[in-house]
Amino acid sequence: MAESSAALPESAALGAGTPTRRHRSFAHNASTWVGLGLLGIPLLAALCAPLLTGADPMALSPQTLRAPALAHLMGTDDLGRDVFSRVLYGGRVSLIVGLTSALIAITIGTAVGMVAGYFEGRTDEVLMRITEIFQIIPRFLLAIVVVALLGGGIVKVIVVIGVLGWVGTARVVRAQLLVLRREEFVLAATLGGASAWRILTRHILPNVVPFIIVSAALQTGGAILTESFLSFLGLGDPSRPSWGLLLQQAQLYLQQAWWMSTFPGLALSMTILGLNLVGDGLASKFGARKIAR
């Protein structure tokens, strides 16, 4: 017994993997972990907003344009509202818009890419031409036009960003499908009598998931940025202030009140950078180097 327990630590050390392998996985992970760290701060802050501040983000007060102090950690804006609370609650709006519109984009993109890549031929031609049409439309411009015409409710903004953002995912997924559909296990499933739907959902989809995850991370960042941009142009929903809207309102006070623009800007940058680092880290981990956005 004593012998076997003495041998144990050594075998455990062997199981830890060779040094080169550890280094490589650390290189992948470094970017992912830094990204997660950057992303985690604004994400947690937005999630725990009611615990972190008692201030109502919409409550007006006579103390306008106060510099950051203990009472107002990030100062107050031109209407006396607490910037700290507005950044926290604004983060909720930005993140919700980002995640849900990315979800829409990913869903459409995956469906289009899988169908185009699997069936090839005419189906592929038609779907890819449609994809190209969406690709050449200037996304921001169309988003501006649509939101300007339909009004800037949060749901409309989400749908518009989602529907305009699926092209990248569709192309990545299609490229994977062109490879995967020639795999022998797909042929084996076909020979086993599986239908196209079953092959796509059960055999091929799990193989595409890593690419979808990477695409989702990048897509979320892009969507948050688009929303901020729309808000910055005054096309957001004023009753639900996002980071972009805060930045827009801060424009007039850039010289008097740096805190009004700096803190929402910082939160936005951290989130976008974080999402991109996570996306890139995962991409190199999955060996998916060429991920289109």
Binding site: L187, A188, L191, G192, S195, R198, P206
Partner: protein, 339 residues
């Protein structure tokens, strides 16, 4: 065309292919035939081999049986009768139901024919679930039973493993388990042992023989491995340039091959069971380019016994014995040894 081999008119045949022509068209509009007038039969419970070099059309013929000729190939003519119904004229949906239930297929490379992200048990289970309405627990039990039948130890745990946790031999066993999951009437094995090392090859052959004996599943074995044929099959078809050049009972093919190609093929394999130390013979030249076939016998340019007539016209498949036919003007029994 002269119909000769008596087995071909066998009414009880499980599978009967008649005059199958599979054509491939290149982008330039050229066409060539990967399979040109192939006829063969497989009786219920029989083990038949198709032997030939790469590019002889054996795999294409096999894929045509399941209506999965690789793009851009097309079946141009012929009939594929399976249990009395013509597969080539069957609606797509019915063919799909047939696949995996009545006809199953095992591939060459078990490394790539299992889905890397699904557990092995789940993949075998799916093969069952596609064709039978069974509860999850009933399927689970059948998966374990199948794994046990193909000799995979510690099955409950192994069913939960991913393909990368399996060795090559185990993966091919798992593929065979998938193939026989629904007790098909016919199992098509396309070079099932090519990617495996010799000891594992032998185990897979034994396994296939046992499955054939136990459940009466007919096997159509596609291979270029002559040793495999000898130990497993009752009948052999030799293919060359999209044609069957010789067919007959395994023993006859081995003991008295009549087509010079079959003869050369056998002479090119080292044997340990005979005393005579004949030199190994390599077949000279390359398999013919299917876009540019010789006008007469397709083997004529490489044939050591060729006569003038071989260049002018192509011989028909002629009976030389009981169930034994060859496509040759000369025939080995009449041939003079090459100078």
């Amino acid at each position: 065309m002269t119909e000769t081999a008596p087995s071909r008119t066998d009414a009880k045949a499980l599978l009967a292919i008649e005059g199958l022509v599979v054509e491939f068209a290149s982008a330039q509009g050229e066409t060539f035939r990967a399979s040109d007038g192939v006829s063969l039969t497989v009786a219920a419970g029989e083990v038949v081999a198709i032997v030939g070099e790469s590019g002889s059309g054996k795999s294409v013929t096999a894929r045509a049986i399941l209506r999965l000729v690789p793009h851009p190939g097309r079946v141009r003519a012929g009939k594929i009768m399976f249990q009395g119904r013509d597969l080539l004229r069957m609606p797509r949906e019915q063919v799909r139901e047939l696949r995996g239930r009545d006809i199953a297929m095992v591939f060459q490379d078990p490394m790539t024919s299992l889905n890397p992200v699904l557990r092995v048990g789940a993949q075998i289970g799916e093969a069952i679930a596609l064709h039978a309405r069974l509860s999850a627990s009933a399927i689970g039990a059948r998966v374990l039973d199948l794994l046990r039948r193909v000799g995979i130890p510690a099955t409950a745990e192994r069913a939960h493993s991913f393909p990368h946790e399996y060795s090559g031999g185990m993966r091919q066993r798992a593929m065979i388990a998938m193939g026989v999951a629904n007790s098909p009437a016919l199992l098509i094995a396309d070079e099932p042992t090519t990617a495996l090392d010799v000891t594992i090859q032998d185990q897979i052959i034994t396994l296939m023989r046992d499955l054939n004996r136990a459940s009466g599943t007919a096997i159509l074995l596609i291979t270029h491995n002559v040793a495999l044929v000898a130990s497993l099959c009752t009948r052999v078809l030799v293919m060359y340039a999209g044609r069957i050049v010789e067919e007959g009972p395994t023993e006859e093919i081995f003991l008295s091959p009549q087509h010079p190609y079959t003869w050369s093929l056998l002479r090119s394999v080292p044997r340990v069971d005979t005393k005579d130390k004949k030199r190994l013979l390599a077949i000279k030249g390359q398999p013919p380019n299917p876009r540019d076939l010789p006008p007469g016998c397709k083997f004529e340019p490489r044939c050591p016994f060729a006569i003038a007539r071989c260049r002018a016209s192509e011989p028909a498949l002629e009976t030389v014995g009981a169930g034994h036919a060859a496509r040759c003007f000369v025939m080995m029994k009449n041939a003079e040894a090459p100078a």
